[in-house]
């Protein structure tokens, strides 16, 4: 899994490309924790290039959400692909992590 981020003014976009699974989940956690630690607490995880997610990947996403909230911010997801969407719906996590069509829209309301 390739992880990159860019600061977009009001929020920081984390681009996660590849498979978000047991092996890469810890990487995402550390990566987002570092971004939060560097001062950004409004984070959009762009899943447009995430082709697959398993239970560990889902756990990592929620863990990142927690980290953002603890820092007083929020974490949102964008551009979810079909398999990831299925996992989110199956576990009802789509109700916790609202998915936006694009990174720009994620924090568009505030």
């Amino acid at each position: 899994m390739d992880l990159t981020y860019k600061a977009n003014g009001t929020y920081t976009e984390v681009l996660a490309a590849g498979r978000l699974n047991m092996v890469s989940a810890p990487k995402l956690r550390t990566f987002v924790a570092d971004v939060v630690a560097s001062g950004s607490n409004r984070i959009v995880v762009n899943l447009g290039e995430t082709t697959f997610m398993d239970s560990s990947g889902l756990g990592a996403l929620i863990g990142c959400l927690k980290a953002a909230r603890q820092a007083g911010g929020d974490l949102r997801i964008a551009a979810v692909q079909p398999q990831v969407k299925m996992v989110l719906e199956l576990t009802s996590m789509d109700r916790v992590l609202t998915s936006y069509a694009s990174a720009e829209e994620a924090f568009g309301d505030d």
Partner: protein, 663 residues
């Protein structure tokens, strides 16, 4: 009485042979010329072992007086195997097979799947079998695969196997089926004899020594083996072979998968990604499961239970990991909810349902999928034998000479074989040296493949006599290396004056000559007037073929390289004699002649001594006479029938040799 004389001469040959070779090793080596002395004595030792094995073979020569009457109710399928032989040739054989007296069904096993064959078979009321869809993209295993395929769609108790050119006599089954009254008999082999061979047999096609004293001798040790055609087999024995083979293959593949999975897990655990305690726990569980499975395998538990259990345990471990992920996630959600209830929503903390956990644990979304290597080897833990067209392969597929490999496996399961020394089918031999060389190469390659894959000396279930009988045939195919040394030694002496023996003294002759005489006598007595000279010539003269067979078979078995069949061009009649096929032999012959001339010149100038020169010139002449057969072979233009002008023999044998490639 012949038996007494044969045995006496065997004993004499062995005693004289040991007397000579032990002296050669102990007292005669010219260490100053070790580079030729040691190879020569090694080659001589090779030959001595070869003679020992031959002596052992004829020691128990079994002359059978015929089979009891055939059991009337025995059902028989006659299989005629074909790949690319011409239609009329196969049809001649098939119609003759149809006329076999004992009730039977005749089948054409057409590996070429030629539609016109199907029609022709239907027209004549012959059975017709081709490979099914299961064989698509699977290893085809040439003739063994063809027979295995047919075994699955037929049901006769006994199978008569015929090559496409082997025209059977009507009484072939009446004469042989009776042997199967003994319920332990699994195979009756009859000779292969060729109609289209002139009396002087320039290509050495007839094998009277093999289909005679050698098979009869092996028969005495219950080790007469299957030669691919003109043999009757018991289906039950073949099926048992297939099942045993299936179980062994499956066990082997499970063992491999278990070993590989342990390695993959170890690697995965070491990798930095696996730092999560949950992941580590899962991998530890999977590892424990595979270790337990290995132990159960060693203890002889059922393969299907072992693999099922491993899969269950792996599934449980994966499920536990998913559960742990979900628990952690839920704990995170609790914390988030404690911080800020509003955002989580009014319905409170979401709970991941059990069926979602199930779904996340299943093969498709399993976290274990992240460790592809682990997943792959666990997938390989199956009893389904993927990678083969049919799980049960009665005829051995480890060699291009499936016949010998199959017979050896039958013997090691305790079955018995019979060699029935009566020509009951007439075939067609190759009619040009190119085809003949391809055929010999294939036999030799197949034999060496069996030696390297399933060395008879270490096969459990075989008696020592049987082991040595199989080994004898394999050993004889190593003769190419010895031949090179036998050619080199006289050249070295005649040209350089270097003698590998410390002296050609009385000591040498007194030991060598009795051995030589006993040896020749042994062949004469055991052969009982059979012409064996042609066979002796070819066993030495085809040394490049034998060497090539050994090297290609070794590369194939050890490094998985293809055997690389020498493809013989079909337009053999055009372009005149093909001397290029025997180039190494021509080069060696020229060197021998030059050496003889140089040797004589050295003698006249006093550079070498008379006895040594004489012995070596005689040796050169012998070598040249042996190899002279190749000149006749290259010039041979095919069989011109004189004694039997029936016309049937005029079919060209150029298309007969099986040119199928190994998969």
């Amino acid at each position: 009485m012949t038996r007494f004389w044969t045995r006496l001469i065997v004993v004499l040959t062995v005693v004289f042979g040991l007397n000579y070779v032990i002296w050669r090793w102990a007292a005669s080596l010219n260490w100053d010329a070790w580079w030729i002395a040691v190879p020569l004595v090694a080659a001589e030792t090779y030959s001595l072992i070869d003679v020992f094995l031959f002596g052992m073979t004829v020691w128990r020569l079994k002359i059978r007086t015929g089979a009891p009457p055939a059991p009337s109710g025995a059902t028989v399928d006659v299989f005629i195997t074909t790949y690319n032989e011409p239609l009329d040739l196969v049809l001649t054989t098939a119609l003759a097979a149809q006329r076999i007296r004992h009730p039977h069904s005749t089948w054409i096993l057409d590996d070429g799947a030629r539609p016109e064959f199907r029609d022709l078979a239907a027209e004549h009321g012959l059975g017709y079998v081709t490979r099914g869809a299961d064989w698509q993209d699977m290893p085809r295993h040439a003739k063994a695969g063809n027979l295995n395929n047919a075994l699955m769609v037929t049901d006769g108790e006994f199978l008569l196997i015929l090559d496409a050119d082997q025209v059977p006599e009507p009484e072939i089954l009446d004469r042989t089926l009776g042997y199967f009254n003994n319920p332990r008999v699994a195979l009756v082999q009859t000779p292969q004899y060729f109609n289209n061979v002139p009396v002087d047999d320039p290509l050495g096609s007839q094998a009277p020594l093999f289909y005679g004293p050698i098979q009869q001798g092996k028969d005495g040790w219950n080790a007469a083996f299957f030669c691919g055609s003109n043999a009757i087999l018991r289906r039950e024995a073949l099926m048992q072979l297939g099942l045993v083979g299936y179980v062994q293959e499956t066990e082997k593949s499970i063992r491999r998968a278990l070993a590989a999975s342990r390695k993959a897990i170890r690697t995965a655990r070491k990798s930095a990604d696996a730092t999560s305690p949950f992941v580590d726990q899962m991998l530890r569980d999977v590892e424990t499961a595979t270790e337990h499975a290995s132990a159960q395998l060693d203890a002889g538990h059922s393969l299907s239970e072992i693999t099922y259990e491993v899969r269950q345990k792996v599934d449980r471990a994966v499920h536990a990991l998913v559960q742990a992920d979900v628990h952690a996630l839920q704990a995170d959600l609790e914390e988030i909810s404690a911080m800020d209830l509003a955002i989580v929503g009014d319905a409170g903390v979401k709970v991941v349902a059990d069926d979602a956990v199930q779904r996340l644990s299943a093969r498709e979304w399993s976290p274990l999928g992240a460790m592809e290597s682990v997943q792959a080897v666990l997938d390989a833990l199956s009893v389904e034998r993927t990678g083969e067209a049919q799980p049960v392969m009665p005829l051995a597929t480890i060699s291009v000479t499936e016949d010998m490999a199959t017979a050896m496996r039958m013997h090691s399961l305790g079955w018995q074989s019979v060699y029935h020394h009566e020509v009951l089918a007439y075939g067609l031999a190759p009619e040009d040296i190119g085809t003949m060389l391809t055929q010999r190469l294939r036999w030799a390659q197949g034999t060496i493949q069996v030696l390297l894959r399933e060395n008879p000396l270490v096969q459990r279930g075989l008696k020592w006599g049987q082991r040595l009988m199989y080994f004898a045939t394999m050993w004889s195919y190593l003769s190419g290396f010895a031949a090179v040394i036998y050619f080199a030694a006289p050249i070295v002496y005649l040209v350089l004056g270097i003698l590998p023996v410390s002296s050609l003294s009385f000591d040498f002759f007194i030991r060598f000559i009795p051995f030589m005489i006993a040896n020749q006598l042994l062949f004469a007595v055991a052969g009982r007037g059979i012409p064996t000279w042609r066979g002796q010539q070819y066993s030495l003269a085809l040394f490049p073929t034998w060497i090539k067979a050994c090297t290609t078979a070794a590369r194939n078995v050890w490094f998985g390289r293809p055997l690389g069949f020498a493809v013989t061009p079909k337009d053999r009649q055009e372009g005149g004699p093909r001397w290029s096929l025997i180039r190494p032999q021509i080069v060696v012959s020229i060197l021998l002649v030059i050496a003889a001339v140089v040797g004589i010149a050295r003698l006249t100038t006093g550079l070498s001594e008379p006895i040594g020169t004489l012995v070596n010139v005689v040796w050169v002449v012998y070598d040249l006479v042996v190899m002279s057969i190749l000149v006749r072979a290259v010039l041979y233009r095919g069989y011109a029938p004189v004694e039997h002008p029936s016309g049937a023999e005029t079919t060209s044998a150029a298309n007969m040799v099986d040119r199928r490639k190994e998969p």
